[in-house]
């Protein structure tokens, strides 16, 4: 019996790479299904309404280009993979066995298994279940991202470097294996391993957060507690376990006024290289002026267009909208003001052109009370019934200040309306795909560094790129954008310019992970769209990852894998 169990164990162990490959294919099936469905839907639209289809294509050309790049590159990649499957899979398979041998997978899961369930007890939250769920979701996925990134970095660099340093390539390279196949096999192996690990980790995370919002045992609760618990769970369903599309109101500024101020500044300062930064600061200041209420100007109105009017649903059953805003200022505590969704009405006898007016209804929502000494950077959300969306998909919203203080709505994170687009799981899945793009890029960078440098140097280089990529936005704003307030002499001006050019070049080659990080969107219940996934795929996987792999192929193919010893 023991012998049979041992034989079965050995049989299973031998097939772990194939099982992981199966898991990898399984994990990609929803993506393939979604891509297939999107292509089908587009083809149908093209058949029935070609103008609308073309408009959809050209409206956001960059997203369209990204989708086309992803489809084309995936096609080419799949063709190459299948054509050279035997060689590539042999290398990938060996890498997975290597990872198992090095106990990397076990340590990874152990680390994750210990940390994730302890997060709800460790993390400091506002006290609400919603914030607890959001934090567990955020930190678990961030932990998975960091762990898998480290695995990708160390596995690729260590694998390539040890192959060379321990002379394993002296045998492998004499087999009919092209060097690019060898590198691609390594990359594919790391990706399979990380996708499988990510699949297990994120399934565990999903199970954990679902467990956190399980229905309580209501028999032990008072009626009030029961209602509160239900309301809390409903809030989580509406604001976390959902995928909401964000619509922002335009904040137009008078261009002529902006240009006049820029000209005046340029004449006074004479620093043409900082014009762009100064113009941005002027636009921001003017927008902040617009987005500020004070006793002299107590109201602001916003117009949000492009929402789904949900016309086919009775007004009372339409999905609610959530208005998300970040106010800051300084003043007494208490309610800042009230939000009024407005209805648009046609003005009778308004002449030949149609004229409208906006009117309030009895519906209003008070903003949450401002905390003590509120220089707040916190977001707030209020709910507005879906019935206020006009037939053309427009929502008008008005804020009326009730405080003597000056309140400014942030213009970097402007007020926006969130409307439910689909369920949480598809959003969760797309976020994971974006995380995988990060990991795949790091694996490609690891191979690139491993092809050029020895182990510790290669790992350190990619690790630096990883950290730099996480802080790319900070680097850009602090080291690349010119400081418009700096007083520079002609000499220091040239040094400043040279420094910022060099810093700009470094930042440009850094993988900007921050701009493609889906975790913030996911935990706030915001839609991670297929377009965003395509853009992340195009930039992280196919452009930056492709360049890294091309560099790796070029140098590795031209590298002498043995040393001359004389």
């Amino acid at each position: 019996m023991v012998k049979r169990i041992s034989q079965a164990g050995a049989w299973l162990y031998d097939r772990v790479p194939e099982m992981l490959l199966g898991l990898f294919v399984l994990a990609l099936l929803p993506l393939a299904a979604q891509v297939g469905w999107s292509i089908y839907a587009f083809a149908m639209t093209l058949g029935t309404n070609p103008a609308a289809a073309m408009r959809a294509l050209t409206e956001r050309w960059w997203t369209t280009a990204a989708i086309l790049l992803c489809l084309g590159a995936t096609g080419v990649g799949l063709f190459m993979l299948l054509r050279h499957w035997d060689s590539i899979w042999a290398v990938s398979r060996k890498l997975i066995l290597e990872a198992m041998h090095r106990k990397i997978v076990i340590v990874l899961f152990l680390f994750f298994a210990i940390l994730t369930p302890s997060l709800p007890f460790v993390l400091k939250t506002e006290g609400s279940l919603k914030s607890q769920v959001q934090l567990v979701l955020l930190y678990s996925l961030a932990l998975a991202l960091v762990l898998l990134s480290l695995v990708a970095i160390f596995l690729t660099t260590a694998s390539i470097c040890s192959e060379i340093e321990r002379k394993y390539v002296h045998v492998t390279d004499t087999k009919p294996l092209r060097r690019w196949q060898f590198l691609l096999g390594k990359w594919f192996g790391v990706v399979i391993l990380c996708v499988s690990a990510l699949g297990v980790m994120t399934t565990a995370t999903y199970g954990l957060v679902r467990y956190m919002v399980r229905p309580p045992d209501e028999s032990r609760l008072t009626r009030e507690e029961r209602e509160l618990a239900r309301a809390e769970r409903e809030r989580i369903r509406q604001e976390v376990f959902t995928a909401r599309r964000a619509v922002q109101a335009p904040l137009p500024v008078p261009r002529q006024e902006v240009e006049r101020r820029v000209r005046e500044w340029l004449e006074a300062e004479g620093r043409p290289q900082a014009v762009h930064s100064y113009r941005q600061s002027v636009i921001k200041a003017m927008r902040e002026e617009q987005q500020t209420v004070h006793p002299g100007r107590p109201r602001i109105r916003w117009r949000f267009s492009g929402l789904d009017p949900q016309s086919e649903v009775p007004p009372g059953e339409r999905d609610p909208l959530h208005v998300r805003f970040k106010p800051f200022g300084h003043g007494p505590t208490g309610t800042l003001g009230r939000f009024y969704p407005l209805l648009r009405e046609r003005v009778e006898g308004g002449g030949q052109e149609e004229q409208f007016r906006l009117r309030r209804t009895t519906f209003r929502v008070s903003s949450p009370p401002a905390p003590e000494g509120w220089m707040s950077n916190r977001f707030h959300e209020i709910m507005v019934p879906g019935a206020f969306v006009q037939e053309d998909g427009t929502l008008y919203l008005e804020f009326e200040s009730l405080t003597p203080a000056t309140v400014t709505f942030d213009v970097d994170d402007p007020i926006e309306v969130l409307q439910r687009q689909e369920g949480f799981l598809p959003n969760y899945y797309r976020s994971l795909v974006m995380i995988m793009f990060h990991v795949a890029l790091l694996a490609a960078l690891g191979l690139m560094a491993g092809s050029l440098f020895s182990f510790p140097v290669a790992s350190l280089l990619v690790f630096t790129l990883f950290v730099g990529g996480m802080l790319a936005s900070w680097f850009h704003s602090n080291f690349v954008e010119p400081d418009i307030y700096a007083r520079l002499t002609p000499m220091t001006m040239y040094i400043d310019r040279a420094w910022r050019l060099a810093a700009g070049a470094v930042v440009a080659v850094m993988p900007n992970f921050g701009s493609f990080n889906p975790l913030g969107h996911l935990t706030e219940g915001r839609l991670v769209s297929a377009g965003q996934v395509a853009e992340a795929g195009a930039v992280l996987l196919y452009i930056k990852g492709g360049i890294a792999m091309a560099i790796a192929f070029y140098f590795y193919a031209r590298r002498e894998l043995a040393r001359i010893i004389v």
């Binding site: 050995a10 031998d14 035997d86 060689s87 899979w89 042999a90 398979r93 060996k94 066995l97 290597e98 041998h101 090095r102 321990r166 002379k167 394993y168 390539v169 002296h170 045998v171 492998t172 390279d173 004499t174 087999k175 009919p176 294996l177 092209r178 002498e560 894998l561 043995a562 001359i564 010893i565 004389v566």
Partner: protein, 406 residues
């Protein structure tokens, strides 16, 4: 594949220059080396440490790139994938993955050659049996002794049934049993039409198995030829016979002294068994007594699949001959007046038949005179062996690691 005139490996003016950090030439590891290795021969590359043997082998394998000159294997460059499909390489050290076991290792390399699962399994089993690692087949290679690692190294080199086998110090690290098996295997491979290119420090082994050798020194070719040519002592004669009485010996010695004169060199001694022979006898006896061992067992002889396609070639020749005969018979029956020139020329016919006969008789000879494959080492050839040893021991004071790396 291009026509190669039987040349399996060709080195033309091969040069490898080692350059320093600033690109300045520091040393020529290999200097204008010209070599040709033909199909079916065992070719030995000899030389002291630092003579350029390993650098040459690494260039042949495509791990180093020549500074000048060319390498042609089966008429193509060494990095060509089709060429690699026909080459097997066993490195001096076990540069194999320590976390894989023997099965996984052979499975991995079999995949690289595009072998299907059944063929991989068949060859894996055959090779593991051949190298005597049946009991250690599921142990990670990291736990293998050096000799066992060499055996699995050999097995992986043969997984593709290569036409050219490159062996770096094939007998180093092997016990005498393994060493004997290795040498027998090399000779078997040669008999099956394979070409073996090896480099070694063990001169007795090289002398025993190589058809031709090349001696390198300072990256340059110093000697090249068949072992017989290089080691032939023209000025000496050796007589060997069964044990004789002292009186008869004295008579013979006296007769020889008379012939060579008082200054001539005459040695009379009772030949001793070689240590290798004695050791093999002891191990053979221990095995017959069924004593257990945790290490490698006796190998099962060359795997059946090695050289299978050579048999196919023979079959093809046979088919051609049969077809020719049939055509001849049919032609004779149908067109009795057909001139003889319409049939395959009698010369060609004879050549083909000779070929078939030769392969048959070769086998018979091997069975009748197996010792012919292992020529005895007599005192007359020791003269040259000493010279070789002297050459090779010139840098023997270097560290062991240096020795490994040539």
């Amino acid at each position: 594949m291009p026509v190669t005139d039987g040349k399996v490996l060709e080195l033309v003016e091969l040069t490898k220059v080692f350059k320093g950090f600033w690109g300045r030439e520091r040393v020529k590891a290999v200097d204008r080396l010209n070599l040709e290795v033909v199909r079916g021969e065992v070719f030995g590359l000899l030389g002291p440490n630092g003579s350029g043997k390993t650098t040459t082998v690494r260039m042949v394998l495509g791990l180093l790139f020549p500074s000048q000159g060319a390498i042609r294997i089966f008429g193509r460059g060494p990095r060509n994938v089709e060429v690699k499909q026909r080459v097997g390489y066993m490195p001096e050290e076990s540069h194999l993955y320590p976390y894989l076991n023997a099965e996984e290792t052979l499975n991995f390399f079999g995949r690289l050659f595009g072998l299907g699962p059944r063929e991989r399994a068949r060859r894996t089993d055959a090779l593991i049996d051949m190298v005597g690692l049946g009991r250690a087949r599921r142990r990670p290679l990291g736990e293998y002794s050096k000799g066992m690692a060499r055996r699995i190294g050999l097995a992986q080199a043969l997984i593709n049934d290569p036409d050219l086998v490159i062996l770096d110090e094939p007998t180093t690290g092997l016990d005498p049993v393994g060493s004997r098996e290795m040498k027998d295997l090399i000779l078997t491979l040669r008999d099956r039409g394979k070409t073996v290119f090896l480099c070694s420090h063990l001169l007795a082994d090289v002398e025993e198995i190589c058809d031709r050798v090349c001696i390198l020194y300072g990256g340059k070719r110093r000697a090249l030829g068949t072992v017989g040519e290089l080691l032939k002592a023209e000025e000496m004669t050796q007589i060997r016979t069964q044990r004789l009485d002292g009186a008869i010996v004295e008579q013979v010695v006296a007769a020889i002294r008379q012939a060579v004169g008082p200054d001539g060199q005459v040695e009379v001694s009772a030949p001793t068994k070689r240590l290798e022979e004695f050791f093999l006898q002891v191990v053979h006896q221990a095995r017959q007594e069924r004593l257990m061992t945790a290490g490698a067992e006796v190998g099962a002889g060359a795997a059946q699949f090695l050289g299978e396609h050579e048999d196919e070639d023979e079959k093809l020749v046979e088919e051609l001959v049969t077809a020719g005969r049939q055509a001849e018979e049919e032609g004779a029956a149908e067109e009795e007046t057909e001139p003889a020139s319409a049939l395959p020329s009698s010369g060609d016919q004879e050549l083909i038949e000779d070929l078939v006969r030769m392969s048959d008789t070769d086998d018979e000879v091997e069975e009748e005179f197996p010792e012919e494959a292992q020529p005895a080492v007599g005192p007359s050839v020791r003269v040259r062996e000493d010279v070789l040893s002297e050459l090779i021991s010139e840098e023997s004071s270097e560290t062991e690691d240096d020795g490994k790396e040539d």
